[in-house]
Symmetry: C3
Subunit: 309 residues, 3 copies
Amino acid sequence: MQLTPAQTLDQVAELIEAEYHGDPNFQITGLNEIHMVQAGDLTFVDHPKYYSKALHSNATTIIINKKVECPEGKALIFHDDPFAAYVSLVKKFRPFVPATAMVSDSAEIGEGTIIQPGAFIGNHVKIGTNCLIHPNVTIYDHMVIGNNVIIQSGTVIGADAYYFQRKPAGYRKFESCGRVILEDNVEIGANCCIDKGVSGDTIIGFGTKTDNHIQVGHDTYIGKHCLIGAHAAIAGVTRIEDDVILWGRVAINKDIVIGKGAVVLATSAVDKSLEGGKAYFGVPAIEARRAWKELACIRQLPEIIEKLR
Amino acid sequence: MQLTPAQTLDQVAELIEAEYHGDPNFQITGLNEIHMVQAGDLTFVDHPKYYSKALHSNATTIIINKKVECPEGKALIFHDDPFAAYVSLVKKFRPFVPATAMVSDSAEIGEGTIIQPGAFIGNHVKIGTNCLIHPNVTIYDHMVIGNNVIIQSGTVIGADAYYFQRKPAGYRKFESCGRVILEDNVEIGANCCIDKGVSGDTIIGFGTKTDNHIQVGHDTYIGKHCLIGAHAAIAGVTRIEDDVILWGRVAINKDIVIGKGAVVLATSAVDKSLEGGKAYFGVPAIEARRAWKELACIRQLPEIIEKLR
Amino acid sequence: MQLTPAQTLDQVAELIEAEYHGDPNFQITGLNEIHMVQAGDLTFVDHPKYYSKALHSNATTIIINKKVECPEGKALIFHDDPFAAYVSLVKKFRPFVPATAMVSDSAEIGEGTIIQPGAFIGNHVKIGTNCLIHPNVTIYDHMVIGNNVIIQSGTVIGADAYYFQRKPAGYRKFESCGRVILEDNVEIGANCCIDKGVSGDTIIGFGTKTDNHIQVGHDTYIGKHCLIGAHAAIAGVTRIEDDVILWGRVAINKDIVIGKGAVVLATSAVDKSLEGGKAYFGVPAIEARRAWKELACIRQLPEIIEKLR
């Protein structure tokens, strides 16, 4: 999430009542979790295992629970519970504001766009021109919809990321401040869920069309001109390149890449990155030709085992 | 879709600014895509591979992109882009009319039927007597619901068919003008999606009961007294005969037939037509007895391979 | 379901116009189907195969279709169609009352709880403090939500149990009078369905968090601090103990127990009870280590069969 206006190190440290190391006027221009950081961002780290990764990431301000040496050109904020400190900043800069109407006054809605009754359009949502938002769709605050987009009924754009930290007392929620961006000419089927990014954006590219009941996790990127079949379950922080086709009920793991033009056949589950331009099948998915060969072998197995005895 | 009143060849050709071959007063009584055509229908064909099929189908008027010979008793309309021409006719004869209320004034709702708050009932919807439509259900324009039907919350009846044509610039949408028909005594679970037919009807037969999160594609027919378990994903243009039972999370391919009384066990995926009266299991589904035998063999496989070495 | 106030045997028998055996003032304090019965409950039995089970269950009043001997300390009601008699009692004591507003006047909503627009809160619903109910959520009558609960959009709490009895004329519905109870600190994702109990309660325990599109059947119990991944399909009358983790798209059979701390890997289908503290994978799910071994064997199968020839 961008911070507009930018904050200073001193201002941010004061908000979470923490000591810091660095120029009090050091600029903080965004909040981001570690997977998405860029220069100007504040992030956090609370486990020694990840100290080095966080300190040497693109983030320039790091909330950390140990007094380590500060990398050059960066700033540190010291806090006993960096997770809690970070989440409190998210809540301060992106507070939840209850809605007072089905369509927020603060939403920007383009010419020719139709919002059907029962659709909820949250605060600060932007919707382009000539869209059709069907009844009982929900679009959470701050989401961004392009031009010529169609969203079928019951679909939820921008629910919170499914992202928790386990503590002895239970799970703590990683508050999401990211967005969903649907590019131009996207069509989303009925009763789908596209979750917002934790701090970045979940993006569905130009001209991609999805069937019903699909799930897209936080911070996932889907390219242009993809087809996503019914009941697809796509986890978070994954990248699906252009022209990919997922047939019905495909499952895609988090944090992987599906190459351009790959085709994943129905009911397959993809656990690791796939090269583009090929067809895949199975649980876990392998190249379809190989999967069919193995299946043919299984078909023969009872007779083969019989003979072996 | 029926055209009421019927149109003449001359009228329709004029709407799409096209030349034609045939009697100007030749009657066109319906618009239908090639899978559903009957006498009186107009359909279209744009690929030489399918010319013969379209010309010799039951359709009596064909939009085509080549000046071929006209079969006897039929009419032809010549157009460079038959898909676009057909879609523009669908939009002319079944225009989208934005709703002005959660329950349309034009909807016919039978005696004793309860529409709960938050349910959307579109234009020209017909609902029979003694139905219960739970909160936040969406019923799109023109859908038809019988008597004693129960629809649980969040369910979407009549979203657009998932049907696109790939062109170099992206996917073009095949506009749907068909309907969903729920016969008497049907019950649909929560958060289900039953898509409308592309040009014909998606039908769910008398007394069939579905659990939650089920998906039924366009133009699919489900017979009487079926049970459809949670998370079933049933593709388009498929026929499920009477008394079929699908346990939880079954996937059914498009364009196949599931015979009367077939039972498909949980998590199975059916890729081709199944004979009635038997039980099936697996991905792809085969007769359950055989599937269990193969599974038992797989269970022994590590020990058998060990011995073979 | 508890009967408040308690009824007498005589009163209940009169409602269904049936003869009975027992003290006219014998107390009936609840209605319950056979899986959930306790002392004071009325249940029913209509098949000789289950007579003994019903007569010797914890239920103290039994509607039965044969004049059998009455167990000591119990009462019997004789009726030709015990199912119909029982369902008519459910309807009498828990009648469906159409809503007159999106948020019922009879709902009790705690301090600090936010109900977003488009959410439906049924009659006699209880919601605790500091909850956030997102737009287009549906909470059916009589459901119970604890404190600090978050429910994402499109989710349906308390749809009817999927529970029917087959008769020659079609399926008869087992009317549900149970509840859903979400304990404190629960979070439910978007477009989920948690069905009410048939006569008891469907319970989700303290601190459990679910992703989107999950389905929980009637009378199922999910313990504390569980994580339930997207597209999980959990059948009815099942018990999931504390600290269980279900990764994405797991299916769980009805009437089984998943032991404390078990982990079920993505896309697995669990058909029988699982011991706690272990990881499982596959369809049907077995211990993950064994499942991977079998998978490795299948991977080698084409080459092994080749060599055998």
